[in-house]
């Protein structure tokens, strides 16, 4: 037994030491680039030179007058909202199914979680085949089933391409959301569900009037994650459509990449990338407040 206080006894020091690595990581790899991006968005810096001049709000003025940017902004909103609505509905349904006991349940859970484990880029490449203009499985299946007579150019038509993007984004977030909803369902006291059964509530009344309201805080967290993941994702759109056809399916991250890196206009690229920040903050705060507000008090 050591007679003196060692560092392990001093929680204040120990805490700081243990936090330090992750703090350094966050500051260097997230904080600095983030601050730098905000700075860049007010500059006329380009990728070609070391020149750095103050541009004020010119970059922001330029993108707000740009039809492609406005379209990308709209697309970002459509994709984010659309995919999250899809995710909430599907995840709630899947959680209900996975809660039941049936043969092969573990296997079903495993398969369901797979999309979460697949790297975005690989998955997106697989999806480009699914949506391919010639080989699309969806098209061939629909046609073989006699449900379709024309032909769908998934990634060639701006509207359909957005639908495709929504489907892939929803597919990506869905497993995570399902797991969260499952955990939420498990946290509802069994006696409350049984009380509803004895009170004469059928499946739908139970779901809509008891389970879903109690799940609200959990679903809000899942949606918050989904919104952030989707709104900031570059890979899916970049690989699936590259923003095309004719810049109609850009979302903010892909446009920022195109302008800032490929187009070498760092200032404007940064402005596009930073543009979403205030909206995401508002969404995050609103969701967290909702979660806290609807949180079920002690029984």
């Amino acid at each position: 037994m050591k007679p003196h206080r060692t560092i392990a006894d001093r929680e204040d020091v120990l805490g700081a030491i243990m936090l330090a690595p992750s703090l350094v990581y966050v500051i260097l790899l997230v904080g600095v680039p983030f601050a730098f991006a905000i700075l860049l968005s007010f500059s006329d810096a380009t990728a070609g030179s070391l020149h750095f001049g103050w541009a004020g709000l010119r970059n922001y003025a330029a993108i707000l007058g740009d039809a492609i940017f406005l379209r990308a902004l709209r697309n970002s909103a459509i994709v984010t909202v659309g995919s999250q609505v899809l995710v909430v509905v599907l995840a709630t349904a899947a959680a209900q199914v996975l809660r039941a006991t049936f043969r092969g349940k573990r296997f079903a859970r495993f398969v369901l979680l797979l999309p979460w484990a697949v790297p975005v880029s690989l998955a997106a490449i697989a999806w480009t085949w699914i949506f391919d203009s010639t080989f699309s499985v969806i098209n061939w299946t629909l046609r073989a089933a006699g449900l379709m007579h024309g032909w769908l150019y998934w990634l060639g038509d701006p509207a359909l391409a957005l639908v495709a993007i929504i489907i892939v984004q929803a597919w990506r977030i869905f497993p995570f959301a399902t797991v969260i909803v499952l955990a939420g369902l498990a946290s509802i006291p069994q006696e409350i569900i049984e009380a509803a059964i004895v009170d004469g509530a059928g499946f739908w009344r139970r779901l809509i009037q008891v389970e879903l309201p109690l799940l609200m805080p959990v679903v809000a967290v899942a949606v918050l994650f989904g919104v952030v993941y989707t709104a900031t994702d570059l890979g899916v759109v970049y690989i699936l459509t590259g923003g095309g056809p004719a810049n109609t399916t850009h979302v903010l991250p892909t446009l920022a990449f195109q302008r800032g890196i490929l187009g070498a206009d760092l200032g404007q690229g940064a402005a596009i990338a930073v543009f979403l920040l205030p909206f995401l903050i508002v969404v995050a705060v609103a969701m967290l407040r909702l979660a806290r507000h609807t949180e079920v008090g002690a029984r």
Binding site: P189, I197, D199, G200, M216, T294, R299
Partner: protein, 333 residues
């Protein structure tokens, strides 16, 4: 659950009493339809309900131990829930909820959420929610277990009064024998999924059918002692309640008593009573295995009972019960 054969009378307050794992809650859940018996029949009124009759069609209402109120609904919405599920017209729901809330004096809380209520208020909301359905049977699963001791007494009184008033058949599950004695018209003592005894509180207390019931009901439990009496069959246990085991001098000479020599180990002063712990020693016989015997001496008997001495205690013969030491079953004297 094994061989439970039970019929509940109309309007009766029946208590299922047992420790945890005795099957009392399982039995209640089977009546409710939350669990299915593997075999056997359950009838409510003249309807057979085991099998595919869902809980909602059984005419039952249940109050859970945790009250299971819907935390996101107000008190009003909680009480209204079963009525909404039964598609009762809105106006009628309103009337019914207000009537029930009035009955349990929780009208003030109708707009509050369960988390804003105390334990006792929540329990009354749960009762209201059960009441508005006009059930044929009330099923109550330890509804007082989550209340503090002080509240439990008044809640018990309220509950009994209310049940007398509405005259609805009630099945009440508890592990608390004081509750069981105080509330039940009849008590069903259960252990390991089997019914040990069915009877009025008095029958169960005064005339237990076996040593399990004898020691499970009553606090402190019934004293059990090997008889060592040549006039009785071999291996007979004597049973007597602590309150019948009193200093010999308390009894008159005309009383027909059985006298024991009682080595007093410790006296516990409890205000209204003294609990005297010790063991019985019999002259001539080797000291019996240390069986602790308890005497409950009311405060009205002021006699000094010094610790560490042997005293003469007696039990009236009419208060003696006899059990078979091997089977535990009651035996005729």
């Amino acid at each position: 659950m094994d061989g439970v054969d039970l019929s509940i009378r109309d309007g009766e307050f029946l208590v299922l009493l047992g420790s945890s794992g005795s099957g009392k809650t399982t039995l209640l859940r089977m009546i409710a339809g939350l669990e299915r018996p593997t075999s056997g029949e359950i009838h409510i009124g003249d309807q057979r309900v085991d099998g595919d009759v869902p809980p909602r069609a059984r005419g039952i209402a249940m109050v859970f131990q945790s009250y299971a109120l819907y935390p996101h609904r107000t008190v009003f919405q909680n009480i209204a829930f079963p009525l909404e599920a039964a598609r009762v017209p809105r106006k009628q729901i309103e009337e019914k909820v207000r009537w029930a809330a009035e009955l349990f004096s929780i009208s003030r809380y109708l707009d509050r959420y369960p988390r804003q209520l105390s334990g006792g208020e929540r329990q009354r909301v749960a009762l209201c929610r059960a009441l508005v359905r006009d059930p044929k049977v009330f099923l109550l699963d330890e509804p007082l277990a989550n209340l503090d001791a002080k509240l439990r007494n008044t809640a018990r009184d309220d509950l009994k009064r209310f049940q007398r008033q509405i005259q609805t058949t009630t099945v009440y599950v508890t592990h608390d024998q004081v509750e069981a004695m105080g509330l039940g018209d009849r008590i069903v003592v259960m252990e390991h999924g089997k019914v040990r005894q069915i009877g009025t509180p008095q029958e169960v207390y005064e005339d237990p059918v076996d040593t399990f019931v004898a020691t499970f009901v009553g606090q402190p439990p019934m004293n059990l002692l090997e008889a060592r009496d040549p006039s009785l069959p071999a291996r007979t246990l004597l049973g007597f309640r602590p309150e019948h085991f009193l200093p010999k001098s308390v009894f008159g000479t005309s009383d027909d008593t059985r006298v024991f020599r009682f080595a007093v180990r410790r006296v516990e002063y409890l205000g209204s009573d003294r609990y005297v712990y010790g063991s019985v020693v019999e002259a001539g016989a080797p000291p019996p295995a240390e069986v602790t015997i308890i005497a409950k001496v009311p405060a009205t008997i002021a006699l000094a009972i010094p610790e560490g001495e042997t005293h003469e205690f007696a039990v009236p013969r009419r208060a003696l019960r006899y059990f078979d030491a091997d089977t535990g079953r009651k035996r005729a004297p």
